[in-house]
């Protein structure tokens, strides 16, 4: 063993990085563009639009399946005439009210739930009872209670938003690391101040997921509910626009209505929520 050690000479090198290859090489423009998420998604959307157009032309029956071009045309003319923006506004107004009330109630429930064990039991029981219940199933009941109109829609909206947000927020609070709680207490923070300054930001990834899921449920529920009774106030929302045009066999308009529903969904998901995500949890390294 000692022989071997003395036999092998020690090696000491001067590390010179002068002739080393570039450590950080900039990516080629094409590669950089490909790395942008919205570019990749835009390509997928374009491919889908082309497929739609091809199928529509091949079918040649605008009453059943208008082409992408016809849909865009109907969409543009309806936007220009102000019908779609007005209907969209009605839908979004209702949505914001329902979503807002849902968030408020969810906040109340989760505050109760982290404050006491009985509150947690209450939240768990209510969520497991009502979360699996489709909002639309409550429509007949809502009709009896609130009559034909916005009241009923808001009721089902709140139902669809509340449980998803409450469930996620509560799970988020419970997964906040004990160390962070102790740090907050160390600063002398107690009760609601601890919740506001430590627990809510620490649980923000879960809360945001809840808000996203809640939003998706709410948007779906809203359009579906409007299809059934969105007309009461004389100016229905997007759901009613779709229903109306189906009755008049304006299929391109129906598609334009659906197109708007999708566009709003994409906008909220990919612009609003994506921006919030980028500025908060991604920046903080809480999600990658």
């Amino acid at each position: 063993m000692t022989d071997l050690v003395s036999f092998r000479p020690e090696i000491i090198r001067d590390v010179q990085s002068g002739d080393a290859p570039v450590v950080a090489k900039t990516l080629s423009p094409a590669e950089r563009i490909y790395r942008l998420g919205f570019v990749r998604k835009a390509v997928i959307l374009a491919v889908l639009a082309v497929a739609w157009e091809i199928y529509g032309r091949w079918l040649g029956n605008p009453l059943l399946f208008p082409t992408f071009g016809q849909t865009v045309e109907a969409f543009v003319s309806n936007v220009a005439s102000g019908v779609i923006p007005q209907r969209m506004l009605v839908s979004l107004q209702t949505l914001v009210i329902g979503y807002g009330i849902g968030i408020g109630l969810a906040a109340l429930l989760t505050t109760l739930a982290i404050g006491s064990r009985i509150g947690a039991d209450l939240l768990e029981t209510l969520t497991s009872m009502f979360n699996p219940l489709p909002a639309i199933a409550l429509l007949p009941l809502a009709l009896i209670w609130f009559g034909l109109g916005t009241g009923s829609i808001i009721f089902v909206l709140v139902h669809s938003v509340l449980w998803a947000i409450a469930l996620n927020t509560h799970a988020g609070f419970r997964s906040v690391s004990n160390t962070l709680r102790m740090v907050g207490q160390n600063y002398g923070l107690r009760g609601l101040k601890l919740v506001r300054l430590i627990l809510i930001p620490a649980a923000f990834p879960a809360i945001l997921t809840g808000l996203k899921v809640g939003w998706a449920f709410a948007w779906r529920t809203l359009i579906a509910a409007e299809l059934v009774f969105g007309v009461s106030s004389g100016s229905g929302g997007l759901g009613w626009f779709i229903y109306e045009n189906r009755n008049q066999l304006e299929t391109a308009n129906v598609f334009a209505g659906l197109f708007t529903v999708i566009l709003v969904g994409l906008f909220v998901e990919n612009v609003i929520f994506a921006n919030i995500e980028r500025r908060t949890i991604r920046r903080w390294g809480m999600q990658h």
Binding site: S177, Q185, N186, Y187, G188, L197, W284
Partner: protein
């Protein structure tokens, strides 16, 4: 550097008197420490040393106010400890002790303003000064997730020191670091202590670390934790001499003699 004569004449900053700590698991009540007593004087670097299961971390949490003793009393400056507070800042072992949604600067500033230790402007100044002290001025506006483990612990130490607490409680703060970084951090802590002479209570399971970091070492035996000895450490200028090795052997023998 060690000033036992000064310490003896002063009154203790922190006194732990006959403290028994218990915690409940789903099927048992576990006694973590039994009738532990010791006193910490201003500018002490007091180390709680013992094998795992001796309740040293639990003891530190009790001093932090997160746990109430079932027997005995903990008092800081003569006042009974009854809950967590900014006069006893904790530095934890975990890297996630920094608030991930705040930058290095905001983490320190927030600690000061949220606890009411300082107003906004003073907090900013103090944060800058202490972050500079731990050598992280370059990273003052970085978010914690972009820092290495050692840097995160430095921020936690800067935050603890910026609060200027009566005593800094450190719960194995370097245990999760690699050996080289740990060594560097120990030296840095000593340098910081030379600067400001804060009082620190340091928990570790490493005999070597205890001797390097501490001025006074409390040895705890496991299951349940009881005080085995309270020893003086070796002054820094005698590190690496036979004295250090002798103390290491002595502590080693004491901790493992009963087994």
């Amino acid at each position: 550097m060690l000033a036992p004569s000064d310490a003896a004449s002063a009154s203790p900053l922190l006194s732990v008197a006959g403290v028994t700590l218990q915690y409940k698991t789903p099927d048992a009540v576990v006694t973590a420490t039994r009738r532990v007593s010791f006193e910490v004087y201003p500018a002490d670097r007091f180390v709680l040393l013992g094998p795992s299961g001796c309740g040293k971390s639990t003891l530190l949490k009790a001093i932090g106010g997160y746990l109430t003793p079932v027997e005995g009393q903990i008092s800081l400056k003569g006042r009974k400890v009854s809950g967590p507070g900014p006069d006893r800042m904790m530095v934890f072992q975990e890297f996630d002790q920094l608030l991930p949604w705040k930058t290095v600067r905001e983490n320190v500033v927030f600690a000061l303003t949220a606890s009411g230790r300082a107003g906004q402007t003073e907090a900013e100044d103090r944060a800058r000064a202490y972050i500079d002290k731990v050598g992280l001025t370059k990273f003052i506006d970085s978010y914690p997730h972009t820092l290495s483990g050692g840097m995160k612990q430095r921020v936690a130490i800067a935050r603890g020191m910026a609060m200027e607490p009566d005593v800094l409680l450190m719960d194995e703060p370097f245990a999760a670091l690699d050996a080289l970084t740990r060594r560097k951090m120990q030296d840095e802590l000593l340098r910081l202590w030379d600067d400001t002479r804060f009082t620190v209570l340091f928990v570790t399971h490493s005999i070597e670390e205890a001797i390097r970091v501490g001025t006074r070492i409390l040895l705890l035996s496991p299951h349940p934790g009881e005080v085995k000895a309270e020893l003086n450490s070796v002054p820094p200028e005698e590190m690496g001499t036979g004295k250090q090795a002798a103390l290491e052997t002595r502590i080693n023998d004491m901790l493992f003699a009963s087994h």
